[in-house]
């Protein structure tokens, strides 16, 4: 986990923010604030996936200054809310492991395809590593994207017949059209 200065919202130091609120209207405000905070945090720390059993110790869900923690079950229910908008996806049935998409897969897809078109890379083969970590993509929003997420993004493009994945043992890459 990289250390980044997070600009926490006011709720983060508001103790009851870490207790799920009973009043429906207040709760919807609370959940909305959590959703924003989770996505902001993951964007700033470049976090693409998390395991709830571990993440409940992260500063994101645990503010030691006021000695408050968000319960794992609450974390899962908020992540499930994020999943409804395509901002997260559970990786296992117990909903412990999650991928977080602070850009939805579709947004990532159009971003990457936009870059490919701009750089005239259609009809050439690029490895996943080049696409996510190559020197050419440094400074791009998707620089450093986790391979598992990248593959899902490319699947979206593949469905639109904009690329084809090559998943051989010796070479993992993609050809754009």
């Amino acid at each position: 986990m990289t250390e980044v200065d997070i600009s926490w919202p006011w709720q983060y130091s508001f103790p009851p923010f870490f207790t799920l609120q009973p009043h429906p209207e207040t709760r919807s405000k609370q959940v909305a604030a959590w959703k924003t905070l989770i996505l902001d945090y993951c964007r700033q720390t470049k976090t693409y996936s998390l395991d709830v059993r571990e993440a409940n110790q992260w500063p994101l869900f645990s503010n030691s200054a006021i000695n408050r923690k968000l319960d794992s079950n609450v974390i899962i229910s908020i992540l499930s809310e994020l999943a409804k908008n395509g901002n997260a996806a559970a990786l296992d049935k117990a909903k412990n492991r999650w991928e977080i998409y602070w850009h939805t897969l579709e947004e990532w897809a159009s971003m990457i395809y936009g870059y490919i078109c701009e750089s005239g890379l259609q009809n050439s083969v690029i490895t996943f590593f080049e696409l996510s970590n190559g020197t050419d993509v440094e400074g791009q929003e998707f620089f450093g994207i986790q391979t598992e997420v990248l593959i899902k993004v490319l699947r979206v493009l593949e469905n639109d017949r904009k690329c084809e994945l090559i998943l051989a043992d010796d070479m993992q890459g993609v050809k754009f059209f």
Partner: protein, 250 residues
């Protein structure tokens, strides 16, 4: 001396009385007439004064307050009527505009505070929103109170709650705040707290536990407070409207 007896004397006495009453009435009428004249003169002068100092009234907060007080003593309310002389002056407009801005700030901060805001915070937010020039900045708490109280005519959706020490809170969601709710806010405000538990409330106000619990739960149900279950051993109710006032925020 001849004593007045008999019919003649009674009639004379009656006549005298009637004369006295007449004179009395005359004097009274005179006085009223004079008073009315004086008031008319005063009103004309006041109107003169107001139109002469129109700009000053709009720009200078202290001046405006004193003018309002002066009007109040003679029973003129420049805000009460949009018709006639005072509307030409546009003093009402000033407060109407302010009232609209107050509603705007209340709506904008509702997501944070659930519809309860301290007058101080309201003022600083409003000033920020009003732009930089000096005349926009000089809005006193007195102005805000006047404008906010005008909003009462829209029903129970808007009220100003005094919380002691010259502090006020503006409540901008439907539903009345009871005396007990007011007492809780007052206690928090004087102690400079943003949270409270049933126990502390019982101790401080000498309430029975069910009364304290009911009042706090009602405020929770109105979205005015949040509950924290990770405190020591009992639930603690937090009021976002009183949280972080004037500190780290923004």
């Amino acid at each position: 001396m001849r004593r007045g007896v008999g019919l003649g004397a009674i009639q004379k006495h009656k006549l005298e009385q009637a004369k006295y009453t007449n004179i009395g009435n005359e004097i009274q009428e005179n006085q009223i007439e004079q008073m009315t004249k004086q008031l008319d003169v005063f009103r004309v002068h006041l109107e003169d004064f107001a139109s002469k100092h129109k700009n000053e009234i709009k720009k200078n907060g202290e001046f405006r307050r004193q003018f309002q007080e002066m009007c109040a003593t003679i029973g003129v309310d420049p805000l009460s009527s949009g018709k006639g002389f005072w509307s030409v002056l546009g003093i009402g407009d000033f407060y109407y505009e302010l009232a609209v801005q107050i509603v705007e700030v209340c709506l904008a901060t509702n997501s944070k505070n659930g519809g309860l805001i301290s007058l101080d915070e309201l003022r600083s937010k409003l000033i920020k929103a009003r732009g930089q020039s000096k005349q926009h900045q000089e809005i006193s708490k007195d102005d805000l109170l006047r404008a906010a109280q005008k909003l009462k005519i829209f029903g129970s959706g808007f009220s100003v709650v005094p919380v002691g020490n010259g502090q006020y809170m503006v409540h901008s969601v439907p539903g009345e705040l009871s005396m007990d709710h007011g007492a809780i806010l007052q206690l928090l405000s004087t102690k400079n707290l943003c949270s409270i538990s049933t126990n502390i409330l019982c101790d401080e106000l000498n309430w029975r536990e069910d009364r304290a619990k009911q009042a706090l739960e009602q405020m929770l149900d109105q979205g005015l407070s949040w509950i924290d279950l990770q405190g020591d051993d009992c639930p603690v109710y937090f009021f976002p409207s009183l949280f972080n006032v004037g500190s780290s925020e923004e």
